[in-house]
């Protein structure tokens, strides 16, 4: 059965770039969201078992989205993909329950390595 994967980023280019970095031949059903609110909605609809989440976004940013997921006890495995590579941002999202932090632009190799490490692939 295909795994529901959600890519959340306000930039359409970034969403496309992220989708391209997903491992080839991985059986997934990819959905997209433009901000945190849309992401929360999609997760509730069962579209985001694995979520690739950007941090700087309008409406609801990545930090807020992580907090919501935690608060509403939603079932999603979140991998943050961000251009903000300051150590503080990294620590903060890990504290908010993210599984991993990948710096932008995400490479195929890095994404595969992370997914393997968590036994998703």
């Amino acid at each position: 059965m295909a795994i529901p994967v959600l890519i959340c980023d306000d930039s359409s280019f970034a969403r496309k770039q992220m989708a391209r970095a997903l491992p080839e031949g991985w059986e997934v059903e990819v959905s997209f969201a433009c901000n945190g609110e849309e992401a929360i909605q999609a997760i509730k609809e069962g579209k985001g078992e694995i979520v690739f989440l950007d941090l700087t976004m309008p409406v609801l940013d990545g930090f807020g989205t992580l907090a919501q997921i935690k608060q509403q006890d939603l079932n999603a495995m979140v991998i943050v993909v961000s251009g903000d590579i300051q150590p503080e941002a990294h620590t903060e999202v890990m504290g908010l329950g993210a599984m991993e932090f990948i710096k932008k632009p995400a490479s195929k190799e890095k994404v595969l390595e992370v997914l393997k490490r968590f036994g998703v692939i």
Partner: protein, 206 residues
């Protein structure tokens, strides 16, 4: 498609420039954070194709009433040329002086040191970040002091720009817990936009 008289960018291209800037400014912010030992608050970069005489409007992060200090630095690579402008709100200097551990009161010469230190880091790292993503190596000219403690309009007007249109990327950096506000502006020359658009189209292809 043949060259059109009017340069323009599509919404997809603008989105792509914004994302590229986002990644580049993140790298620059990381270096600045390490240099100063602080957390840099990252904004959403603003990308606009503007007339050069509207440059003042592109500096939205800085208030009109404030006096500012600024440096500019030219860059070029693969035929893509432009200038980077770094503009500091003058009230920022006392806090930066503390952070950079120069000690003492920020007088005009110390402020120049601070301005140059931050310019070296932010401009260098941003250009490297943009260059890496577009596969361009940028050479940088020597920075030039535009002015210290001057009115923002005078600072921008003092330069007689030869281009009419410019692709402007504005990144407004703030630092958590400090009164520091600076605007980094990457300005690409009119004749560079077409080359840039081609590079960006390549990234946008499926």
């Amino acid at each position: 498609m043949t060259q059109t008289a009017n340069v323009s960018i599509t919404e997809d291209q603008r989105d792509c420039y914004q994302e590229i800037s986002n990644v580049a400014m993140g790298q620059a912010a990381d270096l600045l954070a390490r240099l100063l030992g602080v957390k840099v608050i990252l904004p959403i970069p603003v990308v606009n194709l503007i007339e050069v005489n509207e440059l003042r409007m592109a500096l939205s992060g800085i208030e009109n009433s404030e006096t500012v200090s600024g440096v500019c630095q030219g860059f070029i690579g693969n035929g893509i040329s432009g200038e980077a402008l770094l503009i500091f709100n003058d009230t920022s200097f006392n806090d930066i002086s503390d952070l950079l551990k120069y000690g003492g009161v920020a007088d005009k010469s110390l402020e120049l040191e601070l301005l140059m230190d931050v310019a070296n880091i932010l401009i260098g790292a941003c250009l490297r970040g943009v260059g890496e993503q577009l596969d361009v190596g940028f050479s940088q000219g020597h920075p030039v002091v535009l002015g210290q403690h001057v009115n923002l309009n005078d600072l921008v007007a003092a330069n007689n720009y030869r281009w009419t249109k410019t692709l402007a990327i504005e990144i407004n950096y703030k630092i958590e817990g400090y009164n520091i506000n600076c605007d980094l502006l990457l300005l690409f020359a009119e004749d560079a936009i077409e080359v840039l658009n081609r590079k960006v189209n390549y990234l946008l292809e499926d």
